[in-house]
Amino acid sequence: MSRGGANRSGPARAALGIAGLLLFLCAWQAIGYYRLAGLSWPPLTDVIALLADPERWPLLGRALSATLAAMTAGYLLGIVLGLGAAVGAHMFPIAHPGTDRLAAVVNSIPSIALGPVFIVFLSRESTAAAIAAAHAAFIIYVAASSGLAAASRGHRDLLVVLGASRLSRLRHLDLPASLPSLSTGLKLAVPAALIGTIIGEWFGAPRGLGVLIVNAMQNFQIALLWSVVVLIASTSLALYSALSLLERACYARFA
């Protein structure tokens, strides 16, 4: 009876969620089957058939592993850069405003403009990972910065009174206190890094899901185009969910 109360039981909510999902998939199938959106919208069954076709697996597998490799490299590099900058700014407060501004400006560089820069400074092959790293680094930096500032004044005072050095305060208080926020950042950085990788691949990577997208689009391979997007979405969702678990554990333990 009360609106916005979210007072439905667990099973009922799950059933509604599944119903919503099924409705979405049915709508997809119907639009594709009856050509309601033209030839560019394939029925769901076509996409599933393509993804389930073993003959396609080598092609998709090669592209997926190339994208995953570039993304992982960029993601890890992004963590190192973002976390490093946040800890540095935290330890040297005088540098903090400048680091914030730099991060904001670097973040506002359109990813498509990073492509040519990285191609010149690095190489065609590493451009995808580099853009992924740039995307991830910013999110990690923001999350880590706010996390490092999250410890309570009382705890901080306590450690100062106990005579803890800057470094041991970082180790015993600020870093643990930053873990919840950081874990959220780690989670959000996954789709961001994946986007970065795909955009990077558009700048002439030899293989990868981004390359497949562009090829499929140019050759009007509609089912392939949708299949690759579904593959990317599923990858993103799987990694995102895994890191959500990590996030939940961090909040349970440290928040």
């Binding site: 609106r3 509604l16 185009l225």
Partner: protein, 252 residues
């Protein structure tokens, strides 16, 4: 004199990173002796910006238009759907998993699909911005409508408030802070999303300018387009941030 000194210190404190970035860029290009076709110098880009303002201006207006219209539409759609979901438990139950699913999907990858559906023109750029802005608006507004001050829900029930009063006087005002966060997130992405869409399939705009000039090896203009896009994007973000600050102040 003193005032100038203080300003200089402030600029250095806030801007050392950006200055460093520009200096490293200039030094690198000079040291490697890059041709301007490969990698322009900061000064060359600045000259082109000052020399041909109308080229940038025309395309910037196009991109800003797409970003603003898309932002407004996306925010309106996301907010409206969040309110509908608040009104109907069934709708909310059906939408929640779907939005979680979609908000983890890289939107940029569906640009080619949207382009094939809507055509290689402004409507695709607009649709992408709308989609990009929709998700934060929906997700943040949904949680905001439930972030009620302690005891307020009980109070409204005892007062015998009906659904319209609860929505207008309690849930919607309570959602404003979250909504302003959504606005900030969406504003930051709107310009950059529009740029990527224009780059891939636009017929005008800063992303298109970038793509065109890059393939003509006019890197100075390509970088000029980038610089303009950055300024626009930062302005969008700053405006939304100012809104958010005002809201936080008022809403506690």
């Amino acid at each position: 004199m003193n005032a100038i000194g203080r300003t200089a210190v402030a600029v250095l404190r806030n801007g050392w990173g950006i200055l460093l970035l520009i200096i490293v860029w200039q030094a690198w290009v000079t040291a490697m002796n890059f041709n301007a076709i490969v990698m322009p110098r900061p000064l060359g880009v600045l000259q082109d910006l000052i020399g041909f303002p109308e080229v940038y201006w025309k395309n910037a207006v196009y991109t800003i238009g797409a970003a603003v219209i898309g932002l407004v539409l996306g925010m309106a759609l996301g907010t409206g759907l969040a309110i509908l979901a608040w009104l109907s438990d069934v709708l909310e139950g059906m939408l929640t998993p779907l939005t979680v699913l979609f908000s983890s999907v890289p939107v940029v990858t569906i640009i080619p699909i949207v382009a094939r559906l809507l055509g290689y023109d402004f409507s695709t750029v607009l649709a992408i911005v709308v989609i990009i802005c929709f998700f934060p608006a929906f997700v943040f507004t949904t949680s905001g409508l439930k972030a009620l001050p302690a005891g307020a829900d009980d109070l409204f029930r005892v007062l015998g408030a009906r659904t319209p009063a609860r929505l207008l006087r309690l849930a919607l005002p309570a959602a404003v802070p979250n909504w302003s966060v959504a606005l900030r997130v969406a504003a930051g992405h709107a310009v950059l999303g529009a740029m990527i869409a224009e780059y891939l399939m636009g017929t005008a705009g800063l992303g298109y300018l970038f793509a065109e000039t890059k393939s003509d090896f006019n890197m100075e203009r390509a970088f000029g387009a980038t610089a303009v896009a950055m300024v626009v994007s930062i302005l969008f973000f700053a405006a939304a941030l100012a809104v958010e600050r005002r809201v936080k102040e008022r809403w506690n």
